[in-house]
């Protein structure tokens, strides 16, 4: 297996991928923060700090290398991209002040757009579409709430159905439902 660290690789890769990631993140975050991606020197402080990397094949330095060298499909299809717990240890420690964790979220956004949303994550989305909560109430907890002197159903969208409708309307309006429900 030849090293992917050849000059040639960058020429063959999708040069626009770095820009695509920066643009995606810049929909929310300041563009200068997302552009820190270019400052990565592959020192590995991130991977050395990563609690997930100690036990899985997730290597945050590698995903940055793939991004910088335009390995778009490799980066977005990587299952290990979803082993980051977003603990921010790497972002805190990066000596180049790369917004590593926020860039991982931008990469994941692109990954979802490519159709790589995990089944389990799609289920969590369905819970929010239905209940407005990722972890909805159940009968056991209702009983505990009552015993503790709380309202059986909390004063959230669980209790206010017109508020639930507002949330569902927003999820439709942002295109979120069509994004996560679309079939490849």
């Amino acid at each position: 297996m030849p090293s992917i660290l050849k000059r040639q690789t960058i020429r063959e890769g999708e040069k626009d991928f770095v820009n695509e990631v920066i643009e995606q993140g810049s929909k929310i975050f300041p563009k200068d923060d997302m552009a820190t991606l270019r400052a990565c020197i592959q020192c590995g402080t991130c991977t050395g700090s990563c609690p997930s990397g100690r036990r899985t094949a997730w290597r945050i330095r590698q995903i940055f290398l793939k991004t910088l060298t335009g390995q778009r499909k490799d980066a977005l299809a990587a299952e290990d991209l979803w082993n980051c717990t977003t603990c921010y240890t790497c972002q805190e420690r990066c000596p180049r002040k790369v917004k590593t964790t926020d860039i991982v979220r931008a990469l994941r956004n692109l990954s979802v757009r490519e159709g790589y949303l995990r089944q389990d994550h799609a289920k969590v989305c369905q819970l929010v579409f239905k209940h407005g909560h990722a972890v909805p109430i159940n009968d056991d907890v209702k009983a505990v709430r009552k015993r503790l002197g709380l309202s059986e159903v909390p004063p959230t969208v669980h209790q206010y159905l017109e508020a639930l409708k507002e949330v569902i309307d927003l999820l439709d309006a942002t295109g979120f439902r069509s994004l996560v429900e679309r079939k490849e």
């Binding site: 993140g25 929909k27 929310i28 975050f29 300041p30 609690p51 997930s52 036990r55 899985t56 979803w82 082993n83 980051c84 717990t85 977003t86 603990c87 921010y88 240890t89 972002q91 805190e92 964790t101 926020d102 991982v104 979220r105 956004n109 995990r118 389990d120 994550h121 289920k123 969590v124 989305c125 929010v128 407005g132 909560h133 990722a134 972890v135 109430i137 159940n138 907890v141 505990v144 709430r145 503790l148 709380l150 004063p155 959230t156 969208v157 209790q159 206010y160 508020a163 639930l164 507002e166 949330v167 309307d169 927003l170 999820l171 309006a173 942002t174 295109g175 979120f176 994004l179 996560v180």
Partner: protein, 294 residues
């Protein structure tokens, strides 16, 4: 009496209502009144929905903030995830007029408008900054002498430090000081800053990875002789409590570490009844801890 809008999120009201009761009652002792945020939804979770679509994450977070703005109260939370989402969304929107305008275009569809008129504060911040360790100590009726507590900070309370603005996240002290102000000992343990394992959608999609991190965390606390672990976050709380049951059932472990939320531990020291604080409603029993309290 000072009012705060208590943003409940999902896990606190729907899995650990004891946290809700303990927080309301403990803060009331210090003249802080927690108001319901009627019609609030999932925050939405920063590492889950933020990972799927940051734009949707921001718009739904802004709606939750607006409800509190309409109440003219600053927000407080008992979940690092909710705190991360609302604090970060508020920070981003306050710092970008363009972003604020775009979000308000979306919110106009449901007749709402984000103004940027409030602050989002973690409940631990209220206890350390509004109340203060000394005042907590003075109010303790039943000092937790001899109790060894392992403080777990979680990630999103302190990080990213540039946005959260609580100083360095490498050597935090606030939870340890709160534990000490109740008369208990805060034990040091290896890799104290380690994540609980649940965040970023890892619990929902890669449970075994999340549990492996939880196990390492628990092993380090046990090695340090902890009688209980203390959390500031409902999601970490769930992962560390239910995670033990999952580790015991799936992997034959024998974890029995009581998991207590910071305001539950405080409630005990303020003289409240363990049952009323929901301490008998955890997945892992807390009796071994409760028996040791003088």
């Amino acid at each position: 009496m000072r009012d705060y809008a208590y943003f409940l999120g999902c896990i606190t009201p729907n899995r650990y209502p004891g946290i809700e009761v303990a927080t309301k009652r403990s803060l009331k002792e210090f003249e802080i009144n927690l108001l319901d945020v009627n019609g609030a939804s999932c925050c939405p979770a920063p590492g889950v929905f933020g990972s799927f679509d940051l734009w949707t994450w921001l718009v739904v977070a802004a709606r939750n903030i607006v409800i509190a703005e309409e109440m003219n109260a600053d927000i407080t939370t008992t979940c690092n995830g909710c705190y991360a989402t609302l604090q970060e969304a508020n920070y981003l929107l306050k710092n970008s007029a363009n972003l604020k305008n775009r979000v308000n275009e979306s919110l106009a569809k449901i007749g709402k408008q984000y103004r940027g008129s409030l602050e989002v504060k973690h409940v631990i911040e209220l206890l350390s900054d509004q109340v203060g360790f000394e005042r907590v100590e003075k109010n303790v009726k039943r000092p937790l002498r001899g109790i060894k507590a392992a403080a777990h900070y979680g990630c999103h309370f302190l990080k990213p430090s540039e946005t959260r603005m609580h100083g360095s996240a490498e050597r935090p002290t606030v939870l340890d000081n709160l534990v000490r102000s109740l008369g208990a000992e805060s034990v040091d343990y290896r890799d104290k800053g380690l994540c609980c394992g649940a965040g970023g959608g890892v619990r929902s999609a890669n449970l075994e990875v999340a549990l492996d991190m939880t196990a390492e965390k628990l092993d380090n606390m046990i090695e340090a002789g902890a009688d209980c672990l203390v959390t500031p976050c409902a999601f970490c709380h769930l992962q560390l409590d239910r995670g033990q049951v999952e580790l015991n059932e799936k992997y034959g472990r024998r974890y029995q570490m009581p998991v207590v939320f910071m305001t539950q531990l405080m409630g005990l020291a303020l003289g409240m009844d363990a049952r009323e604080l929901g301490l008998y409603d955890n997945a892992i029993p807390t009796e071994s801890l409760l028996k040791k309290i003088p």
